[in-house]
Amino acid sequence: MSTDWNSGVWPDWCPGCGNFGIFTALKGVLSELGIRREEIVLVSGIGCSGKIPHFVKVPGVHTLHGRAIPFATGIKASNPDLKVIVHGGDGDLLGIGMGHLIAMGRRNPEILVVVHNNGVYGLTKGQASPTLQLGKKTKSLAFPNVNSAVNPILLGIASGYTFLARSYAYNIEHLKACLKQGISHSGAGILEVIQPCPTWNNIVTMDWVEKNTYYLKDWDPVVKDDEDAVKKAQGIIGIESGEKKALGTILIDRRKDPFGKRLASIYKHYAAEPPAAQEVEKSGAPLSIDLEKTFQKFYIP
């Protein structure tokens, strides 16, 4: 079954790249979703991670640096039947595209954003990315990093995301579980995947991950009510302030309406016929619109 999800394009990542783990887990999950491949759309940004749609046998939209989220939002809002998943790197989503990441949390569309977090800009030879810790010097840097790292999980909370999780590129089963949960969630999600870059990041190695991460236990990510939401937020700040990175599902908040529902609340026609389901012509003629009724205020009495 799994070979069926290969597009046939040769994945040109470096040997040992964490992207292979994400690729494998993704294919595994897609085969378990039980939907037609044409109904899935992978939308990606620029960088090594941005190439992933080409390797998977589902429709793929490889966009601009940092802009996968707006493309995905336009696709999902126009055709809510599509399952839309965004892939991007930490530089892409948390650097050049961070404004869109925040805006997506505010809208809460049913889209999962998979952050391939390797701490460097790989395809341009290893410059510091927004998740590289302050003072760290990876091998291609001339000087230690002078910027503090951003935390996508905390950013996700502040922006209004309703699903947050962190996983590890080489733990395929864990990653699959997180992906599946995130893809099925009805709202905006961030799945941060810690992904070693064997070529450029000599700090976040498999060994480092081994020593600096742990799997969340006894943490219930599901928000029950408003009071619980405050407790969860405080709990998450606690988790994220720890020395080690927590792996697992961190937040599931089903209280907020997804973007589609919000649109349906203002556009009465949206739920029955979203834009992609609407005809706009009949044999070449525009729909028979009653112009005087529709555009009444522009007519001179």
């Binding site: 597009s7 394009v9 491949r37 044409e38 109904e39 939308v43 080409h54 046998k57 589902v58 429709p59 793929g60 939209v61 490889h62 966009t63 601009l64 802009r67 989220i69 707006p70 493309f71 995905a72 939002t73 336009g74 696709i75 999902k76 809002a77 126009s78 055709n79 039947d81 599509l82 404004g99 869109h100 805006a103 649109l263 556009y267 009465k268 026609h269 949206y270 016929e273 979203p274 834009p275 992609a276 609407q278 706009v280 012509e281 070449g284 003629a285 525009p286 729909l287 028979s288 619109i289 009653d290 112009l291 005087e292 009724k293 529709t294 555009f295 522009f298 007519y299 001179i300 009495p301």
Partner: protein, 630 residues
């Protein structure tokens, strides 16, 4: 009959509503109307005004000098007193008479210095009263009208309410002064405030009070109310629209289903109109269509969302102005290499950078055709009137899907904000372009064929890939040189197809006789001033015509060359510094347009300016720079 009036006051003081009321009343009166709105990038306090022109004939521009100036404050008097024709009428509140003319904190200091110099030069004095007297000596008619007093007396309204309705009071005075019956003004009030009963009653009461007061006043100044125009003929159904409205209506008729935008002047109103009319009603009152509008976090997001929508098969568009378009450029390149039908409505304003945010300009023609790195096919269509803007909005969506290219609908602040009477649109045709035919074969989004346009499937229908990288037929990244050449050719050769198939009327339009000697070459809203000026120019004995270029990219070289080669002398007319269209014509056709009439003050080119500038060109001036308007 050619009636021009200016009504001005502080921004936020209801000038826009006053203008709308006057325009509506004139239209109801059976006249054709064209009105310009000038305002600062400011919410309250700075000077703004409407210049309204009415005629029995359809008009497309404004003209100076004006018959009336209605001033809601001293700054309007100080700014526009020179705009009056001999015998023209100035109306202001009598309470302003003793005010100093030069104590105007909101006025920009350069303007104030010029004003002071003029007042001193002409020995006018320093109060409104002294200015009025000077104007009377110069043959103007001054009507200081005790608005507040009369309204208070006749309506018993409290003074804050009177203050709120001062715009309607002034409009009523102006229109009554020009001879319009009060019932027509009532009708305009009812229609403007259709959905607001309170405002309707207030404005009716105020208009009534002013009208009565005006009738009493006119007994002493009999000549004033003789009337400047009769009721116009019955004209059948007409609409009254700003360019933003016209485009919104055109897009809605044309099947737009996703509009994205980030707020910017002078484009944002268009999205607002689409939102307000998002229920399209069929003949039985049922909803036959309903687009959605998304306010994006920035213009990059706006264009990318629209592209995303287009990939799902939705007719998608965004609208913006120069600063927003600058941000959109990366998205347009992506749409170019991926052959995405997306429409960008581009209202030019004064640049560079923030420039003149609320003022007119035609300085982005070259940017619109060259924006984006690399080479890719696009269509740039420039409308020259509101009627065209409406119909072109539908055409742009057809072109986008038929040729699978991004389409830039190039407009300007003049079209965006000017309000005019138009005919209700004919619905036109919708052409969704080449669609996939289901078969046993594997679908390739960018399949090579005789036709550079490949059959289109939407996301959700077939397997397909898109990438901003060069790609193969299925949409996967390919750097193979042979594939590169073929894909490049596929995209670029669309220009020939477009030029072959698009009718001439969408490329360039000639106004006037074909046996011209002089040719005014223009585009955008400026076309209106040139076309309106044409009879006057012809009356001077010149064999002159106007050529409006509509399709800027791909450029209709043959058609434009044909016209130009017949001209003894060609004159470029446009609102920018370079003469961008003239430059482009030189580049594309090899035919040099030596004479240029240009304006870059941010104000519209007016009919009278075209006439004067043409005379100057005939007199030997190569480059005429226009400066009219406040």
């Amino acid at each position: 009959m050619d009636f021009n009036l200016i009504i001005g006051g502080p921004q936020g003081g209801g000038i826009e509503t006053a203008g709308m009321l006057a325009v509506r009343a004139l239209a109801i009166h059976g006249l054709e109307v064209f009105a310009n709105r000038e305002y600062h990038s400011n919410i309250k306090g700075k000077h703004s005004y409407s210049h309204i022109r009415a005629s029995y004939e359809r008009i497309r521009s404004i003209k100076y000098p004006v018959d009336f100036v209605g001033a809601l404050d001293v700054e309007t008097i100080a700014t526009h007193y020179k705009d009056l024709r001999p015998g023209g009428i100035l109306i202001h509140d009598a309470a302003l008479l003793d005010k100093p003319i030069t104590k105007l904190p909101p006025m920009e200091k350069e303007r104030l210095e010029r004003l002071k110099a003029e007042l001193e030069r002409d020995n006018i004095g320093t109060t409104v009263k002294e200015l009025d007297e000077w104007l009377e000596r110069k043959g103007k008619v001054i009507l200081p009208f005790p608005f507040s007093e009369i309204i208070a007396e006749k309506t018993k309204l409290a003074s804050p309410m009177i203050e709120r309705a001062m715009n309607t009071a002034m409009t009523t005075a102006l229109l009554r002064g020009a001879g319009m019956p009060i019932d027509t003004i009532f009708e305009a009030i009812d229609s403007l405030f259709m959905e607001k009963a309170d405002a309707r009653e207030l404005n009716r009461a105020v208009a009534n009070a002013v009208s009565d007061g005006f009738d009493e006043l006119s007994k002493t100044k009999g000549s004033v109310t003789k009337g400047m125009f009769e009721k116009g003929p019955s004209r059948g159904k007409r609409m009254l629209v700003a360019g933003n409205d016209a485009v919104a209506i055109g897009k809605l008729i044309g099947g737009l289903r996703l509009q994205t935008y980030y707020p910017i002047t002078p484009a944002a109103d268009e999205s607002f109109v689409i939102e307000q009319h998002s229920s399209l009603f069929g003949p039985e009152g049922e909803i036959v269509g309903s687009p959605i509008v998304i306010q994006a976090e920035d213009e990059i997001s706006a264009i990318c969302m629209a592209i995303g929508g287009a990939l799902t098969g939705v007719r998608a568009a965004t609208c913006t102005s120069g600063p927003g378009f600058s941000l959109m450029v990366e998205g347009i390149g992506w749409a170019g290499i991926n052959e995405v039908p997306v429409v960008i409505t581009y209202y030019q304003r004064g640049g560079p950078s923030t420039g003149l945010p609320t003022r007119h300009s035609q300085s982005d023609l070259l940017f619109a055709i060259t924006s984006g790195h690399g080479e890719f096919q696009r269509i740039v269509l420039a409308s020259g009137s509101h009627q065209e803007a409406l119909e072109d909005s539908l055409k742009c969506m057809n072109f986008a899907e038929k040729y699978q290219v991004p389409v830039i609908h190039l407009l300007d602040k003049g079209i965006a904000n000017c309000v005019t009477t138009i005919s209700p649109p004919s619905l036109g045709r919708i052409d969704r372009g080449k669609r996939i035919v289901k078969g046993a074969w594997e679908y390739s989004r960018f399949a090579f064929g005789e036709d550079p346009v490949s059959p289109r499937a939407f996301l959700g229908e077939e397997l397909m890939w898109y990438t901003g990288d060069e790609h193969d037929e299925s949409g996967h990244i390919s750097e193979d040189p042979e594939n590169r050449r073929r894909m490049y050719d596929k995209r670029m050769s669309k220009s020939e197809k477009i030029l072959k198939e698009v009718p001439d009327g969408d490329k360039a339009v000639l106004f006037g006789d074909g046996d011209f000697e002089d040719l005014l070459v223009t585009w955008g809203v400026t076309t209106g001033a040139a076309v309106d000026a044409l009879p006057e120019l012809q009356a001077t004995g010149s064999k002159i015509a106007v050529l409006q270029v509509r399709m800027i990219e791909p450029f209709p070289v043959d058609l434009v060359s044909n016209y130009l080669s017949k001209a003894r002398s060609a004159i470029g007319l446009e609102a920018n510094y370079m003469g961008q269209l003239a430059e482009l014509i030189g580049w594309k056709t090899g035919l040099k347009i030596k004479n240029r009439i240009l304006k870059y003050t941010g104000r519209l080119i007016t009919q009278d300016e075209v006439v004067n500038a043409y005379m100057r060109v005939k007199g030997g001036e190569e480059r005429v720079i226009l400066t009219g308007g406040e």
